[in-house]
Amino acid sequence: MRILVVEDEPKTGNHLLQGLREAGFDAALARTGPEGLRLALAEDYDLVVLDVMLPAMDGWTVLRSLREHKDTPVLFLTARDDIPDRVRGLELGADDYLVKPFAFAELLARLRTLLRRGPVREEAVIRIADAEIDVLRHRVTRAGQRIDLTPKEFALLHLLARRRGEVLSRRQIAAQVWDMNFDSDTNVVDVAIRRLRAKLDDPWPVKLVHTVRGIGYTVDDKA
């Protein structure tokens, strides 16, 4: 998957590039609007990450010119989150936006959605190490032993297991499991994870739920 990042702030640009490459994307960086536009038109990228505040030629202009020729998905980054700004971007043909500061995990999640990495595997039974998650019957076992989870604990495990290996931020988890779409400033997710671990991981040597400090949580059979 080829991604073009258009970002004038040197540190931000470099870190985005590094982060995307480490996440397995083939990423390129343009530092000005005109250069970004030239690259986006000349090459075939699967997605463009576009900063709005660019010198010489702002993100809106780049977006407008790009849309005249190509339908490459565009995710724009903005430090301003007033409604007219967002609406403007979406009207000009952006596919999504992120407000700075954003969590890198959040950016990856949005990119994957935009790249239509296919719908997440919706298996009836998800197997990770010796754990079996029966999605239809809401039953979880480890090594054949039944684990009794509350509905929320099951929803939490199911979310992480479906996106195995992906790090989900607390905010993403709160939105998916509890339908809380704003930053609630509470440690509900942490407590829920702790309780899930107590039932799912504590009695077994192989741990499935992992904390990625400062970012969030992931489920995988290897740490």
């Binding site: 929320k152 509890w178 339908d179 809380m180 704003f182 609630s184 400033d185 509470t186 407590v191 400062g214």
Partner: protein, 480 residues
């Protein structure tokens, strides 16, 4: 077109009034004068009739020497623009005085005023002369000792009177013009003078600037009409000053609150860099930094939210919501947390609430987060709602130590912490309740807190459905 100044408009109005009044008075005077003059003329005419009668009666043989008589009478009549004709019984003109207007008028053929009656004004009639309109009278008289019957006809011109009236009219119009001009000038001067307090007010208003909002118009020494304006102006200044103070206080608070996490970041990063460390330590540092960054980000987000709520820039999309469902949704989220802290979470909800769903959840979420944070193990948090035609009340009640009364009114203020030593969990920076208040004020409702007997209650009052958009609410939340 530019609007005329009030002074000019008033002055013009005054001059119009003055002109109208002068015109009416002038017309009346003219009318009165012309009336009086015609009366006087008629009286003179009657006097002449009486005089001639007397003259004819007292002369022994007046008609014997008509020429002499005419010479006498010429003197009497000539100056007054009258003409006398004496006609004897046979209808012959005996005497005809010189006519001032040229051609002698024919004698009117009216029946004369009988001898036994003194002529009156009703006997005088309009009579057309060659030189213009005139008045005429015919009377019977007897001449001399013979008592010869004679008809007296006197005709009089009006031209003299008209000339006088014409002059008078010219004088009147000139007076009217001058009077109107003088009235206008005076009115303008007086109005300008009357407007001086307004200019003083403007001058004072110009002196007041953002730097010196403290100045106020003194409303004692301005005229009554301007007092109201002054009072309104001062009230506006009060609100502005409060806004500016709040803003600068807010900026100071924010700067102070941003310093804390920034200081932590700089310190721990500098300490970490002061000597080589293993990767585990670096990892711990980065993770710790990330927590501070998130705290900063949250603070900025909350501050922006408050600033927008303050300027009513948040688009409010209120809909009818089932209060029970909304409270259940929030309770569901806090269920794990409450259970973990050994707190019972209860819902006692009824009715519907007219509110913006996202903002309602955010407000209730902040209240419940607060309640759970301050409830000791074994306590209970209750979410309750009641709706009637005055709107919907949502209460978040928790058991635990009471909040001191002096803190209650200030709880909703930004950065206010009843216990300064205790920061909010999750780096809320003391904005949680301020956000609750901003949200409820956006809905045109109010928030309050009461605390007694080991239980604390936060109440949100949402107005009923067709809620009028709130005026920019300032001030503290309403208290019961």
């Amino acid at each position: 077109m530019r609007r005329l100044s009030i002074a000019l408009r008033l002055a013009l109005l005054f001059s119009a009034i003055a002109a109208a009044v002068f015109l009416a008075v002038g017309a009346y005077l003219y009318q009165a004068l012309s009336q009086q003059m015609s009366e006087r003329d008629d009286v003179a005419l009657l006097d002449k009739v009486v005089l001639i009668r007397h003259l004819l009666a007292s002369q022994p043989m007046p008609l014997a020497m008509p020429d002499e008589l005419r010479m006498v009478l010429d003197n009497v009549f000539g100056q007054d623009g009258m003409q006398l004709r004496l006609v004897d019984a046979a209808g012959r003109t005996v005497v005809l005085t010189a006519a001032p207007g040229g051609t002698g008028a024919p004698a009117p053929g009216w029946p004369g005023v009988p001898l036994d009656r003194t002529p009156a004004r009703t006997d005088i009639h309009d009579w057309q002369l060659a030189s213009g309109p005139g008045r005429a009278i015919v009377a019977l008289a007897s001449a001399g000792s013979e008592r010869t019957p004679v008809r007296i006809a006197i005709v009089r011109q009006r031209s003299q009177r008209l000339a006088i009236l014409k002059r008078y009219t010219a004088d009147l119009l000139a007076g009217l013009a001058v009077g109107t001009l003088v009235a206008t000038a005076l009115a303008f001067a007086v109005v300008r003078r009357g407007m001086r307090p307004l200019h003083d007010v403007i001058g004072k208003a110009n002196e007041i600037s953002t730097q010196r909002l403290a100045g106020r118009l003194s409303v004692q020494d301005v005229p009554a009409e301007l007092r109201e304006l002054g009072v309104a102006f001062n009230a506006m200044l009060d609100r502005l000053e409060e806004g500016v103070q709040r803003l600068s206080g807010f900026a100071a608070d924010l700067a102070h609150d941003l310093r804390t996490p920034l200081n932590t970041l700089m310190m721990q990063t500098q300490v970490a860099l002061s000597r080589p460390r293993d990767s585990g330590e670096y990892e711990a540092l980065l993770a710790s930094n990330l927590e501070e960054y998130e705290r900063l980000g949250r603070m900025i987000e909350n501050t922006l939210f408050l600033a927008r709520a303050d300027h009513a820039q948040l688009a409010l999309r209120p809909v009818a919501l089932d209060a029970a469902a909304e409270l259940a949704h929030i309770a569901d989220y806090f269920d794990v947390l409450a259970d973990d802290a050994g707190i019972a979470l209860h819902i006692d909800a009824a009715g519907s609430v007219h509110a913006d769903p996202i903002l309602l959840r955010r407000a209730v979420n902040n209240l419940v987060a607060n309640a759970v944070r301050h409830t000791p193990r074994g306590g209970r948090v209750t979410l309750c709602s009641r709706a009637d035609d005055t709107g919907c009340h949502i209460e978040v009640r928790n058991t635990g130590s009471a909040i001191a009364p002096e803190h209650l009114g200030l709880l909703f203020d930004r950065y206010y912490r009843a216990d300064p030593s205790r920061g909010e969990a999750g780096g809320g920076a003391g904005l949680g309740l301020a956000i609750v208040r901003a949200i409820i004020q956006l809905h045109g409702g109010s928030a309050s807190a009461t605390s007694a007997d080991g239980s604390t209650v936060f109440t949100l009052r949402f107005p009923p459905a067709p809620a009028a958009r709130p005026a920019r609410a300032g001030g503290a939340a309403g208290n019961d």
